[in-house]
């Protein structure tokens, strides 16, 4: 039995309805309890801001394409290196840090759970290997189905139940957490160097449309009762005028789930562009926010960009090709047979680029124009919009219109003609930030049920204590302190153990991997489906028996079990 | 005769690579594959021994006539014999010039050394399996 008592904490715990109270938190064996035994070690939080551990609901930190981002970028590796020190291993990398680099940096910012935004099923084993080497965070993996041949055939046959069965089989095989659709249909078209350009475009050969894929998968997801909803990266990412595709996608989402959204749209900043070329690109954040505000069945994350150098990486192969044609820097691509694609290019977002300034404004606008912070989560699509170490700056921008005005004077002066940002005076408060960085994520991912993202009795004792005293600070004026405070916790506690302190990592760590297992009736078990097995053996280059990720890759695996309604 | 030494994988080299003490491996690794006309000019036949010299070393190998090599080029599968001749300079790339070593050929009756002998010449102590 290990106890820990956190005293004098200024707690904001939105899922428990706590909006800022000085209180004590008792911990036993990694969980929040009513009381500790006497003599438990005490941490005096001294009235500092205390949140449940941070949760990133969309980040690229582990797996084939992330590692390729490192592999191809020694210049990025050199840009962020630290030496071995105490329990900390050597780290490298700025925008695509090594696994330990990611883990330590998230940890010192108070993040204890991270969802990897894109895992190709065929390469899942790789993602899990890197999860194990990211020891301070519990990890989850979005599993890519956007170009899955079996799924597209089920969509073509209008067979939602078969689609559900394929998802259930795949998540179980690859230990995935949720359904991810990255440019649905587009990644298959990219197998021929093509793309789809609206939700009604047909995918070559398969004859299905993105809209049909999306609709089928939303229903399949709910048939399986999965914790998270379908998680989508819409078609046409980064294309001027793409906001219409985004609105069309939002329109496809029915309201099927009482506890959470039915469709999660990721990095919506990249999907909120007006205009028709790079010359007249403008912000359509108001249209998008209006759509989100009127539909409780969707939730989004910002996909904020921040100025500076970073690396873009996504399963959206055709999009990376388009970016390459713009930047002419190095370009990597990696199609994954029968499943999906991916691409990587380095980018630099400049304050002198009008396009980049518009993009920067749109992300902030989404967060400020969407009324309910539970529907808009803070993320940069790390590292696509910016490395996650920029989160504190984003928080400061959202909490201080003064800071936004200062930035305004540093960016391209034409920006204000294309964006509404500087007319918005909303300033988010501590509670909003707590929602947007952990509580909303827990709810959206459906992991509050396993004790994530809140501090109620029985919850996981994942806690972040920031050196910020809400009673003594005016975030609108003291944005510098806000930034510094969110960059380094005083304490990060993971499962009841202090893992980082004042920016220093103090334990090696041992994380869990969380995945979803939907039990389906035997007639939906694809292992017994002769047709599925035959096609698998014929077209994959890996035998079906060698495809599933063995349990040994999840040393502390934890699955959320559901009963499918099939 | 001056020629260019090229090296690479062969299926026989791959087959025996995990049994480097075997006669099969030695047979393959010590074969100097040549164009027939070059062999004719040197007055050697299949199986005759040839002393191969480069700026970096010398080693005796066994001539073998093959199709597909142009005159002036010889091919030896990658392994300790070829590497007795290859220089260590990498021109800042980490990679030696494995495919373009200038060598001279001269017929000899000296024996082809075993791998163990080659390694002993490098300062090692032979191990008998």
């Amino acid at each position: 039995m290990t106890d820990l008592l956190v005293k004098n904490a200024y707690v904001i715990d939105p899922l428990s309805g706590i909006r800022g109270e000085i209180m004590d938190i008792a911990i036993r064996d990694g969980k929040i309890v009513e009381d500790t035994g006497s003599g438990a070690p005490v941490i005096d939080a001294g009235g500092c801001l205390t949140f449940p551990g941070g949760i990133d609901s969309h980040s690229h930190v582990c797996g084939t394409k992330v590692n390729f981002g490192r592999y191809m970028s020694p210049e990025d590796m050199r840009a962020g290196r630290t030496a071995r020190k105490g329990v900390m291993r050597v780290t490298s990398g700025y925008s695509v840090p090594t696994t330990f680099g990611n883990s330590y940096r998230y940890s010192t910012m108070g993040y204890t759970t991270v969802l990897e935004g894109a895992m190709a099923p065929l390469e899942a084993r790789h993602t899990h290997e890197e999860f194990t080497a990211t020891p301070h965070q519990d990890m989850l993996a979005n599993t890519l189905f956007d170009g899955n041949w079996a799924i597209m055939e089920a969509v073509r046959d209008k067979d939602v139940k078969r689609a559900a069965a394929i998802v259930a089989w795949t998540l179980d095989a690859v230990k995935g957490f949720a359904i991810k659709l990255t440019n649905p249909g587009g990644t298959e078209a990219w197998g021929w160097g093509k793309d789809v350009h609206s939700v009604r475009d047909e995918v070559p050969y398969f004859g299905v449309t993105p809209a049909e894929i999306i609709e089928t998968m939303i229903r399949a997801n709910e048939l399986l009762n999965l914790p998270h909803s379908v998680h989508i990266h819409c078609n046409n990412l980064g294309v001027p005028g793409n906001y219409q595709t985004t609105l069309d996608t939002i329109d496809l989402a029915p309201d099927l789930n009482r506890n959470r959204q039915s469709l999660y749209l990721t990095h919506v900043q990249f999907h909120s562009y007006g205009g028709s070329t790079w010359r007249d690109i403008s912000s359509k954040s108001e249209d998008i926010a209006r759509a989100v505000n009127s539909r409780p069945q969707v939730a989004i994350d910002m996909g904020q960009i921040m100025f500076g150098r970073t690396t873009t990486m996504t399963a959206d192969g055709p999009m990376e090709w388009k970016l390459y044609m713009l930047h002419h820097n190095k370009w990597s691509n990696h199609d994954v047979e029968l499943e999906t694609g991916s691409g990587i290019i380095p980018v630099y977002y400049g304050r002198k680029s009008l396009v980049n300034c518009v993009m920067w404004a749109i992300g902030l606008e989404l967060a400020l124009l969407i009324n309910d912070p539970w529907q808009c989560m803070l993320a940069t699509d790390n590292p696509n919009g910016a490395p996650f170490v920029k989160y504190p700056e984003i928080i400061a921008l959202l909490m201080s219109s003064r800071y936004r005005d200062i930035e305004r004077s540093a960016i391209d002066p034409r920006t204000e003609h294309y964006v509404p940002l500087f007319a918005i005076d909303r300033e988010l408060d501590w509670y909003d930030i707590a929602v947007m960085t952990r509580a909303a994520q827990a709810k959206a991912l459906g992991i509050e049920r396993i004790g994530k993202g809140h501090l109620a009795e029985g919850a996981e004792a994942d806690i972040a204590i920031y050196p910020l005293k809400p009673d003594e600070l005016d975030p609108a004026a003291d944005y510098q302190q806000v930034m510094a405070g969110f960059a380094k916790t005083r304490y990060t506690i993971k499962r009841g153990r202090v893992v980082a302190r004042n920016g220093e990592v103090v334990v090696e760590g041992a994380n869990s991997t969380i995945w979803s297992r939907a039990d389906v009736p035997p007639e939906y078990d694809l292992n017994r489906d002769a047709e599925f097995v035959k096609k698998f053996e014929q077209y994959y280059t890996v035998r079906m028996r060698n495809y599933p990720v063995q349990d040994i890759y999840l040393p502390r695996g934890y699955f959320i079990s559901t009963e499918a309604s099939l | 005769m001056r020629v260019i030494l090229n090296t690479g994988r062969t299926i026989r080299q791959g087959s025996y690579v995990e049994r480097k003490t075997s006669a099969d491996y030695m047979e393959e690794a010590a074969s100097l594959n040549m164009n027939r006309m070059d062999m004719f000019e040197l007055a050697v036949e299949d199986g005759n021994h040839i002393r191969v010299r480069s700026d970096h070393g010398e080693v005796v190998m066994k001539a073998r006539a093959v199709e597909g090599l142009i005159r002036g080029q010889v091919f030896v599968c990658l392994g300790p014999y070829a590497n007795h001749l290859v220089g260590p300079e990498t021109h800042g790339t980490g990679m030696p010039d494995f495919k373009t070593t200038q060598v001279t050929l001269e017929p000899t009756t000296d024996p082809v050394p075993t791998i163990r002998e080659l390694m002993e010449r490098c300062g090692g102590v032979g191990y008998e399996d």
Binding site: C62, N67, F68, R70, Y71, M72, P74, M77, R81, A83, R89, V90, T91, S92, P97, T98, G101, L122, R125, H126, A133, G191, G193, W321, Y324, E337, L338, Y539, Y540, R543, R545 | N6, G8, R9, R19, K20, T21, H56, G68, I70, P80, N83, H84, P88, G92, T93, G94, M95, P96, D97, K99, T100, I115, L118, M119, C122, G123, G124, V125, Y127
Partner: protein
Amino acid sequence: MKIEDVVCTFCGCLCDDLVVEVENNRVCSVENGCTLANEKFMRDHRLKNPIRRDGNGWKAVSYDEAIRETAEILLDADRPLLYGWSGTHGEAQSVGVHLAELIGGVIDNTSTVCHGPSIMAIQEVGHPGCTLGQVKNRADVIVYWGANPIDAHPRHMSRYTTYADGFFIENAFRDRKVIVADVRQTESSAIADEFLKIDRGGDYAALSALRAIVRGKGDLIPSRVAGVTREQLFRVAEICMKAKFGAIFFGLGLTMSPGKYKNIRNAIELTQELNRHTKFTISPMRGHWNVYGSNEVFTWITGYPYAIDFARGIAFYNPGETTSVDILMRGECDACLVVASDPGAHFPRACAEHLARIPTVQIDPHVNATTHLATLQIPVAVTGIDAEGTAYRMDGVPIRARKLFTGSYPNDQEILEKIFARVKEAKRS
């Protein structure tokens, strides 16, 4: 006992469809494998026990002694080199990297003398690639450049390219064009629809000519480039541009020839150029079954695929300086740990001489050329036969190699973990 879907731990094709029969801790038959696989599984011959150099001879030592002595050698070294890694599983490679970090050594893998230059080129211009199944199911044009798959990757053509029927290619042999570019005729060039026979050292020029034609600058091309006629270059460029899906595979014929990484860069840029017309991918023919795994593991831990120097506490990478051949040539390292490879056979003689001068420990199942140079050798289980673990195929697909029976040898990971623990313990006190 018959075991199905066995993974062949020989070459980068990492075929996973072997059927192997095991009796009394020995493989007695192999189905589906190529000659290389048959040799590997059927004629497996191991070093019996750890051995130690003793004056001008050798003597047997226990595992414990061998491990203790290895730890001492590494602790005693100022500039240790940890080399090899492509012939073992990822879990062992990972321990190796942590060990190198702990002792402030240099860790390098066999890419240093195979596709190291490809990695350097990728770091300049990127890598448009794909998994092998994408090629099998779609590609109607295949290019092998400076590669001889029939000898080096015998089932590459039958599983993934020339002879592999796929979803959109129902009759591969009829519907697929194969182009081979090489400086010499090989068995692979013999079956090509087009064989570009290139003058030695002429790869860069031939690639540039193709790039020019694809760019629409064909009028610049003289009547012959690097031994290839203008007509053939145009013909080949045309085939590529008309492809629905083209896939280039390149081998050591490009990485080891004059120009080294610049050749690869040119080939990648040709691929990027072709993507303006159609879909094209390019992939290195990685040699050892898990050399790509060593790149992956090194990268997620250190940020770099090979040639990592921990001497200054941070991870430092500079191929040409921190690569094994250069370090050995300069006589810089004062101890070497060789794991799952054979630098005695595959490095230039000058490097082998240095290995013989310094304490060299080899962890390897077999007696090989390095054995004779070493001070100590520790035999281990063979991954894919009596040890299991993760491997990365040449296209990055991770596959778990099976263990076919439990033998008496410890595996690489166990030995390395014991060495690590000893070194760590000594460093603490």
